[in-house]
Amino acid sequence: MVIAVKFAKACRRFGTVTAVAEIDLSIDEGSFFAMLGPSGSGKTTCLRLISGFERLTSGHIEIFGVLSDNIPPNRRPVNTVFQDYALFPHLNVRDNVSFGLKIKGVPKDRRFKEAESLLELVKLGGYENRLPSQLSGGQRQRVALARALINKPRVLLLDEPLGALDLKLREQMQDELKTLQKSLGVTFIFVTHDQGEALSMSDRVAVVNEGQIVQADTPEEIYKRPRTRFVADFVGASNILSPELSISFGGAANWSSLRPESVSIAAKGEGRVVGTLQAVRFLGATKRVTFVVAGGEIAAQVGADIDLPAPGSPVPLAWPAKALHPMDDD
């Protein structure tokens, strides 16, 4: 497997603030890679280090084996879809999309043809003569995508590209982006703070916090076996159990994670612990139920059609043994 982007002890400081702290990371060619973290975690800085808009304080970044530390953005084989699209307001859609080819000196008819075929690809055929100000958010997003793809980059960087779209459109674009990535075979590196987006779209996810990569793994691994309390808490919802509670639940003497959907209501006299039902929240397809147990509180996610006893009743609770996942301390 060819490595598209490699961080080697890459570090970026702004004065006394460390945005990216000596990270090591390899991203495979052709993969859909997500960088997931809260705002201010340094994930966007990672992306800007790859595109060259930020320079490293120390360490190195290789792009397809080429040391890129001293290569300016315009000579890197990567292109970016910017967070707020950054379309040129004075150029129409056709000129925006073909900008990269104009820079290369490609003649007008060829670059316009190329732009039109890319606009077809992002389903914006017929919008060539519009100005960015005449487009909706979703359409601008597609123009930005087509513009970034016209130079046939080996790596496409996407900085929260779906952040400004409403929920329905965002889900649709998630599918389209995923399909597009598979058909083009281009490496996508995607920055997001939306864990659902990261899990559903990517082949691998790096969870970033305070300038460090806490865990880099497949979405399934990250969800099922979060390495730290931060990951368990940030990716999906989880019951995070103190070492004491974990022991009393029959687990290891570690901080442990127990996903609410793993917790079920057992038959009377069975189950691992007995909790007192405290509150119920209706979520549509499911219900979220909180129970008070000896030494803490746990949440369970159960089907909406399950009948629950009145608040205050004792309820036996069960879960599969491997659902209780011990984590590292940090």
Binding site: P73, N74, T80, F82, L87, F88, H90, I150, N151
Partner: protein, 312 residues
Amino acid sequence: MELAAASGKPGLLGRLSDVFWRKPGLFVFLLLLPPLLWLGVIYIGSLFALLLQSFFSIDEFSGLVRYEFTLKTYGELLAPANYDVILRTILMACAVSIAAAIIAFPIAYYAARYARGRIKALFFLAVMLPLWSSYLVKIYAWKLILAKEGIVNWLVEGLGLTLILQAVLSLPVIGGNSLSVSYIGTFLVLLYVWLPFMILPVQAALERVPANLLEASSDLGAAPNQTLRLVVFPLALPGIVAGSIFTFSLTLGDYIVPQIIGSSRRFIGQAVYAHQGTAGNIPLAAAFAVVPILVMAVYLWLAKRQGAFDAL
């Protein structure tokens, strides 16, 4: 108690604001009345009177204005002596505007992209500071600077470049005895006095160009000079046009600078001054005064056609 006061009888101001609330049109009318009176009646009105004057002519024997509509006065503008004045003024206005744009752009770019906080305040202070002192004082100061005994000559001599200055001053038309009596001097001083009016709009236009557009351009492979040409310049163009409207029209109308610094050949402003004053030829003065208005109208129309205002 207070609740009762609020719903009870309002005072005079309260009743007035109630009236405005019920009739918002009345409020807007009152708001615009003073400026409309000033702009509409006094400003546009006097412009109209000026235009009217230019269609009269002067009786060559009596020297009195003949109040009959004629295009004779405009015909006089095309006489070689008058035509030269117009051409000279327009060329000077073009030269000053172009030079001002070239000098202003890097300063404005620095101020818009790099200067922050205190440095930015200092920038505005430095640009505006010359406007705080008297126009006449500045121009007489420049006369001393550019004179044969002035600091420029002294510096040039000190550097041993006298021959070069002599060569420049011996150029036909733009040269002269010294800088202070040549077109070069007029140009330098006009450039100096109108430069702030170019820097500020260009800076404002550049300020509105988001930094991520420059990043996007570079991301797509553009070298810095291509980004400047294809992204920064088109987006700064409305500012440059706005600035050049100032520098161009102010130069077209100025009559003090060419009077004090430069050769004895006239500019439009001086021609207007001379014709309405000593010569008493108000119609010709008015016709001269119409020229800058027409030139500006053509200029704005051209700028609009070139799309200079599209990005506004």
